[in-house]
Symmetry: C2
Amino acid sequence: MPAKKNGNSTTVGLVQMTCDQKPESNLKKAIDGISDAAKRGAKIVCLQELFRSQYFCQTEDIELFKLAETIPGPSTDAVGKIAKQKKVVVIASLFEKRAAGVYHNTAVIIDATGKVAGKYRKMHIPDDPLYYEKFYFTPGDLGFQTHVTTHGKVGALVCWDQWFPEAARLTALQGAQFLFYPTAIGWLPDEEQSMNEAQHSAWETIQRAHAIANGVYVAVVNRVGKEGKLTFWGQSFVADPFGRIIARASADREEVLVVDCDLSKIDETRQNWPFLRDRRIDAYDGLRLRYGE
Amino acid sequence: MPAKKNGNSTTVGLVQMTCDQKPESNLKKAIDGISDAAKRGAKIVCLQELFRSQYFCQTEDIELFKLAETIPGPSTDAVGKIAKQKKVVVIASLFEKRAAGVYHNTAVIIDATGKVAGKYRKMHIPDDPLYYEKFYFTPGDLGFQTHVTTHGKVGALVCWDQWFPEAARLTALQGAQFLFYPTAIGWLPDEEQSMNEAQHSAWETIQRAHAIANGVYVAVVNRVGKEGKLTFWGQSFVADPFGRIIARASADREEVLVVDCDLSKIDETRQNWPFLRDRRIDAYDGLRLRYGE
């Protein structure tokens, strides 16, 4: 049954899934998820980070560059086809081969026409034990953008970006109603339960804060399941412009969340707490410094 | 009994109080709070926003400019005396008269010597029903700063600043170990309980996020009690650099929180999740724009 809607709302779909070692089967699962979300009323569907493969950045292996593809390419063709068929916008996170030796972690915004509406190349690249992304991904050079689609103004950011208030702010200032974060974050082996909970809480908290600071919807789609040493923590969620979690998926199961987002809440929140009115743009030069001391 | 400390920690004190209509009695209560915090081991004590008076910005009344004072002035003299006596740093939020017609909402950092170590003039000024601050306060012109004191590197921000990730970031980039927020925030009359809870949650969440994004301690000192139409929600708190609330005061009582802060957690947090390493300072120019569209 389609989600209940009011007059000024947009329904989003979040496809949280496990991935196996066969890209074709992951792609098929993602397409099934898009279909399911669309059937239940979603108009904008977001897939998790690098949904077409397992999270390969747990090791630095030159062979794994073979997973990359061009944009447009086979995955955007396949996703574009279902997007057009179901008349939905899709945010698809892909391993992009731009040129020999130039690869990106890219979120493609595919419009409900099936055409590529734009792309965002992950700007903040992590490099931590089991997240060796600086080996694979050239930092993005397209900046922070909002994409105007058939079903709304969409900002896409990717995983590590979620820790940077600058990224959320810059994207929201371009007019985004929604910030979508495809992510792949999980727990390391042998970490204490209390640390696991603290990490998850910090992750959810800072993204709720992006919703609050900017008066936008934040939708986060995280991978689930165990791959190699990482147990991805799922718990994809949508926060409203006041930072309230209005839907959250489980920590251990595949799930397609379909969530109605009342767009009037953007106006309402920003009128009541008008932060964008009061930014001190005359005093923010120092944000372009690495460190001020 | 002094709070338990490890080798590399600093104990902070937060004085959450009600205010009556007599500035002298509020000042006395604040000084008693500083003494109490010092006796229990605090080395840096923060008072709530405009602690010397009731929160007068509920109305626009020219008579109320009489509450303002110079800095240095009688309040910094009185607070300086107790700071020197107890060898504690104090963050004191005052209504500053800078010149005829130029008033600020100013946090003064008084060192353990009793001398003024620096001041911060509130940069982001609200103006909402019952918070008519733009009438009283000229926006600050000292920028975002960290003050090196006898007991640590202290950043002070004030109330409405708490909604702006830019303010926290800029202050942390100056080397702050602690961000102190003197605040005066409360619930409006006749608001629904669910809205009250959502407001408090948003307030706490975004300040926890400043701790997370910057790997610093965040200490928030909020007013408590009913004044005019506002019921201040208290719940002063300290968040560690991972955004965990390590102490929280009640919603309806005066309280002096004394909290030990392990400074090694700043290094530890920033090593594990090195956000400051990965900021894209080449791509943040747009933060100086009002709106990007």
